[in-house]
Symmetry: C2
Subunit: 208 residues, 2 copies
DNA sequence: GGCGAAACTAAGCAAGCGCTTAGTCAAGTT
DNA sequence: AACTTGACTAAGCGCTTGCTTAGTTTCGCC
């Protein structure tokens, strides 16, 4: 033992490895569907077409799978948000674009979104801390847009932080109720209406 | 055996029985904290000061405990809502009161609220169906208020159903992030600000 | 064609799970 | 005093869990 590196799974599983991808998809399906603790490693393995032990070739533990899924999901969400924010010409545009984009993401990627939003507490303390950093970046994007809108006079908001939280609540909850084929609702229609609702929340003068 | 009634738990556990109350509290704590599947019956029993077998004197199964908690929680929420709706003089008042009250409830009873909103899928299909009925009654209260506000011209809303869902999303998400002592936020301050935010969502002319 | 490494499986271990069984004990009831 | 009833526990059953171990197969490389 001593200084020999104990045989850990590669810290960043290769995304171009087809077996890893299948495992990601299998775990995402299962976690989103039944929750982390109700999902068994045997379930994940068989969905991916592997024996129970096959999982541990690519991931150190069941929690590691949840963490990687959660991390990749957060990064994807954050990048989608940041891109939408950068393209906008004004706080009003920015808020609408960002909430619109985020709502669409929560619908289109509702499995990953559900894991990101609701399985957080089952991560280890260390992994919670790491993911929390990413989450704060997302919150900060929205909060900054609202602060800018208030500064420019476009928005009428009492409590910037609380309003940002409310706008995010709107969007996050999509992951709770949305599933494909629900009541003539599509990711696109959700994106449209939630962008508009967010503008209402901040009392934007100009309506899109 | 034959036709003798198999010893089932009384279908409705007595709420005035102190041991039952302790079990309810223990299970609510545990489920809210760690989720249904991560909670063990031994954990519930020991929090309630009982041996592992003591739980089964009062409840038929772990799922039965979740169901009773979920049912009682839904009924309490629905009744609180309906009372708030009845007292209001106008749709504007009604919406503000109802969302305000519901938001307060989600903060004050955040443990029960979390179970009600996020442990639903771990109920048996039959129990899901029963709880869903109660949930639809809650949705209907909010939807009716918005429809009335649109009819009276107080609200400016494109899609009544979608807007009702959004208002409820706002409130439901409180159960995800709220915990006592968080950032100078109290159930009362949440109630205040969420009542106002709901009015913004429906484009109410009159602001409270 | 011999070798090392990587991917994978068959088998199974130790621990923990929900729940049951058999029994104790205290408080009525007759 | 004899019996019933209801709340509770000690012990543990049968099963499932996350994960490991020991071994097989496949494949690129010299």
């Amino acid at each position: 033992m001593l200084s020999t590196v104990t045989a850990q799974t590669p810290s960043l599983p290769a995304h171009d490895n087809p077996t890893v991808v299948r495992l990601f998809e299998a775990a995402a399906d299962a976690f989103a569907d039944k929750g982390f603790h109700a999902t068994t490693t045997r379930d994940i393995a068989s969905r991916a077409g592997l024996s129970p032990a096959g999982v541990y070739v690519h991931f150190a533990s069941k929690e590691d799978l949840l963490f990687q899924l959660s991390r990749v999901g957060h990064v994807a969400a954050r990048d989608a948000l940041a891109a939408a924010a950068d393209e906008a010409a004004s706080p009003t545009d920015a808020l609408q674009e960002v909430i619109s984009e985020f709502a669409r993401w929560h619908a289109e990627q509702h499995q990953i979104a559900r894991i990101v939003q609701y399985e957080f507490r089952h991560l280890s303390p260390d992994h919670q801390r790491e993911v929390l950093t990413l989450r704060r970046e997302i919150d900060a994007v929205v909060e900054r847009i609202i602060a800018e809108g208030v500064a420019s006079g476009e928005f009428d908001v009492e409590d910037t932080r609380a309003t940002a939280l409310a706008a995010l609540s709107l969007v996050v909850d999509v992951a709770r109720w949305y599933h494909p084929g629900i009541k003539a609702t599509t990711p696109e229609s959700i994106a449209q209406s939630y962008g508009a609702l967010a503008l209402r929340l901040v009392g934007a003068r100009r309506r899109a």
